[in-house]
Symmetry: D2
Subunit: 385 residues, 4 copies
């Protein structure tokens, strides 16, 4: 680490009972390189204070609102203020918060989907450029070391020319849900999409991260099976990629009994690969004419970037928090290098960016467009850089 201190951050959102805020904090804490020093944990000042107390924060840095936080942290001396802010609020508020912190000179870690409109997403791209912000988007599933191994194998040409990509993300929690996490189904809070916007976008990003390919066209079949909401809870997409690969992306929140079944299969002219998030330490390589292979996390035979994103030896399972922590560690080291005026390490800039965020928002909107039109739509897109 180029800094002789931990990288410091504050959190917006993540108050009592919020699952994802706890994951962010655990992920940030894991390596001892990052320190939580401030927070506006809730739109309720009281709840924010409670959370700050529970986390043993200095009460002076537990704020009643993110607006207060951005002001008061900016007012602190350089070297004493937070280095970055983590935004884990409902989707609709990401934009305003991110904009304010960027303009105040802070770096940002933001949950996905980045914004609820393409316009906002593009504005963030421009702001990030203008303020030279380090901006990390928590498409955390690409933090898994075996996902990075998969990408390396594609890059090395081991799969040949890519032809077929199957990305699936079935969940079942919504089939029997009663009131939990329901902001995800309220368009005024979550945006225009649920099954695509909440999880399909992860499957989409995982596929493009591993394959290096972008979508050219898609055709979506969207359904809302549940009662009491209008957003789709099931989404099946036909997709075309750059260079001719074809595939399917499907995501579902009503596939009862499925837990968090993100899976990616990629087939090229020479080999195929298969990775499952619920068994993340293993990557399967399939061949036409020889025994298939199982690559296992933590081994010396893996690519350097896979080893870089691993903490413990083979056979000692790493999970979701560790993958999440890889995003944090890479972002934090990039920030630390920035603060120290140094170049980041070779693998430290490997985290999803504001452009990835804009692409994701665009993808979500195109999927919804296609579902409404019941037809193929153009999915090509280039965000501002």
């Amino acid at each position: 680490m180029p800094l002789n201190r931990k990288v410091r951050y504050g959190m917006v959102g993540g108050g009592p009972g919020a699952f994802i805020g706890g994951v962010h904090r655990a992920a940030a804490a894991l390596d001892g390189e990052i320190e939580l020093v401030a927070g506006a944990f809730s739109s309720s000042a009281e709840k924010s204070r409670q959370q700050g107390d529970a986390l043993h924060l200095d009460p002076a840095r537990v704020y009643a609102s993110w607006e207060e936080m951005v002001e008061r942290e900016r007012a602190r001396a350089e070297g004493d203020r937070i280095d970055f802010v983590t935004i884990v609020t409902p989707n609709v508020s990401h934009f305003a918060i991110a904009k304010a912190f960027i303009e105040a000179g802070f770096h940002v870690v933001c949950d996905k989907p980045m914004t609820t409109t393409v316009e906002d997403a593009e504005e963030l791209c421009r702001l990030v450029k203008r303020y030279d912000t380090v901006f990390g988007l928590t498409h955390n599933y690409t933090g898994y070391p075996m996902v990075k191994q998969a990408r390396e194998l594609v890059r090395q040409g081991k799969l040949g020319t890519l032809r077929k990509v199957v990305a699936e993300y079935p969940q079942g929690w919504l089939a029997k849900a009663a009131g939990i996490n329901m902001w995800r189904l309220d368009p005024s809070v979550a945006g225009i999409s649920s099954a695509v916007g909440d999880i399909g976008v992860h499957a989409w990003h995982l596929a493009r991260y591993v394959t290096g390919l972008e979508l050219t066209a898609l055709n979506a079949d969207l359904t809302s099976f549940g009662k009491g909401y209008e957003l789709e809870d099931d989404a099946n997409l036909l997709v075309h990629y750059d260079g001719g690969a074809r595939g399917v992306i499907y995501s579902s929140q009503i596939s009862v009994g499925e837990e968090n079944g993100l899976r990616l299969r990629v087939f090229g002219t020479e080999a195929g690969l298969d990775w499952r998030q619920e068994d993340p330490n293993y990557l399967h390589l399939l061949y036409a004419d020889r025994a298939s292979e199982v690559y296992k996390r933590g081994n010396d035979y893996l690519a350097p970037i896979a080893r870089h994103n691993t903490r413990i030896p083979f056979g000692h399972p790493e999970g979701f928090i560790e993958a999440f922590a890889n995003i944090y560690r890479n972002v934090a080291r990039t920030i630390a290098a920035r603060v120290a005026g140094e170049a980041p390490g070779e693998f430290d800039t490997d985290f999803p960016t504001v452009q990835d965020g804009a692409r994701g928002v665009h993808f979500i909107h195109r999927a919804i467009d296609s579902g409404r039109q019941r037809d193929w739509v153009d999915a090509r897109y280039a965000p501002p850089t």
Copy 2:
């Protein structure tokens, strides 16, 4: 068995080197209830004779052509002739052969797809009715006992109202194929489709067999990745079912390293199920609020129809040939009952029929239509009964 002899059959096709002919013979032989007594194994009289010798058949009943076979077997005394014919020739010839044998008064077992046109398929439906033929189509994957268990669980309402159906059938053999089985890619022999017609139709049939639902609409994305042929080798379909369920059917022959990856997942309001052909002795039930279950072949707790279609105890794996043999045994017992003038057993009529065949041919044609139009098409259909 109502007859005091084995049920007798002759085979058309299945000459030296033909994989599927050998599977049919092994499946028919397995239970000692069916006897191969005649054959026209090849369009080459010499090859037919060779095959007959290898099978230790009476040379007088090894024929130079199926036309000869139908004539000469019809000429034999009742009780001495074959009870049924098995047709395992390339798709394009199924119709003429089946028609001739039906008209000559024989029962029929026929490979899928049943015919290459919907018109021919419908004509077979009418012939089967007119001649009161027992007609079995070898959608063999529904012969697996745990598939029957799956259907029973759906019927019992254990899954609730069905919402999502994912049927997939990836193979990879064609990605590296050089000349093998290439009649499957020649439209003049195979018909208008490869990935759908050869395997997608199995996935479609498996889904409808288990769910009891028929398609109402579909939208197909078809690609021909290989060189030297025009038929599609990859097919991704969005599908709608009766009653509102949605889903995906995909089949592929270029998913390198996949072997015979037929898999079905069905999700209802109460539970989900998951079955894989490559691990066929197990059926997984998934719930929202309790431990998932693994049903295992051969146990007393399974449904009667699952136990009826099983030969050996739990833990002793049954495979593809045994599933195939279930189709044969059920057809043969139905024929035996017919010959004996008795009613067939409760579970003996559980085999794919000529109507299933006509539906399959219609499904294939609608998938190709949709792929060409790049749009949704109506998939509803009722064959002659």
Copy 3:
């Protein structure tokens, strides 16, 4: 096949309701090379006749006793009598039946354990030599193609020098059994052992078949958990092999919920292998320094002997009956070659022999001795050849 007819056999045992008799018949029938033509299916003449009728046998060749069968079949003209007898009676009667048929000039297929005493086993070895009998013992688990692949990999040195062998065979059926198959627990019928004699001996044979190593010493811990019988239903053995490898063999009939969990793991200086009978189409190779491999049945990259023992393409699961059928096919082809005065094919003599049977009986007795003495015993042995 060197004969221009099927190989003919008769069965002793395998009457109505006997599971293993049906498996033998299905296995023999599978390839169309072997024909059941005679039988003494039960010690009850009436039950024997019923079974013969159900199997559509010529009533003249359905016998009231095995003694009658051996006399009457011997009296038939050469070329008309059975080529071999299959013995599927309870263990204690194997010896007398085998002896009689051998002395009458017939070849033999016999269930394991071959006899209930070492003396009887050795006498069979001598008889087989004297009468030049083809004698096949149905250690059927070594009929699986991936077991043969495993042996080839060991032979090729891919594992290096062998060090550790773990052979396990848990079952649970006896934990809740009430009266079923109870002859297995009656010493006057089954012999001196249950968990070792019924299934442990399969695990032992599987290990030695794959590794090529024989035991030098063993130490057994035997327990009888159930009520109403004295034979052990759980057996844990420490074992030493030729050349210094060590290991464990355990078998259990009270491991509730285990079905037929035979598994073999072998570790050498260079690699390890892992095979499970309940998932028999796959063989796992494990390495210290590269991705592990999954060998899959039916592929061209497998050893010739593995391909020889496979009937259908990859991805189409083969199971227990197919493995059993490999024993039968190899025995039958060896007999056919003998009858025709030819040499058997390269892979046709690959089946367990009378010496393997004698070794098995010796192993069982040494395990019981060790359990009684609560000490290590010498396990070295050489049967008469």
Copy 4:
């Protein structure tokens, strides 16, 4: 948490490059309830300082030796000093360090095996009692939530009376090792055992934690396959438990390609269970007469103690560090309660104790005794309480 601050600890050992020190720190950091504030990370003062810098510790609390640490921390004001020490040095030094810190009034977290002699272990038991120390031993595998679920199911009687316990722990790293971690093989540093002392003891503890049973007798077969060391690298044990259950414990460091294959299977009169450390989020329940079940981490249907030891929702895999963190969190909360003068929470005292440590050291010695004597030995033991 009863304290309004984090619980503070110092670490002895865990210098640059030490794997397990990093795991301890990550586990302690995960929940934001524990803070590393001091350390004597190496017997080299320079390396200790380097590690302290890398961890951004106050240099005044980075010590050149553990002796210095115990003195200087004791000298700090109450409320400012560390609450507990973590000992992650090679085995032989655990005793002296633990003794010193206990006598200085600190609580202790210690790696296993706790000491290298039974006498030392018993002395620690007495010291812990005398000084009323909170002492946690990192048998971390029992920190997994599904292990706790397994124990609950046993306690609830779901398995009935226990009969068979199979605990296995194969590793392969030593088969090809060259110089890594070699202190584990030096008796003057590691103690008298390797395969038992390093990993077998984990398997032993896991079995007794889940079953609630202690060993009564054991018979060990120990082998040293490698060159350059004398300690055993492979151990196979026959074991007897209280109440009549029998089983096997085997551990191996030369099972090439095995990574960290700890697995426990327990069978009772009613049901069996199966848990694998490399797939730790799932627990399999096996029944004689109904579908087997898969319990999945993070679900509401699990026992309260399993849910207490889980951080994130189902389908988001937790791994080794999270299990380790459960030990830490429980220890830290027990310490926090002690400091605050309150009773610990219902589940907070669920961590391995100094008595568990003494039992483990005794088990290791009895295994070595048995291996040397090549005979059964008494394994009963009661440590000072």
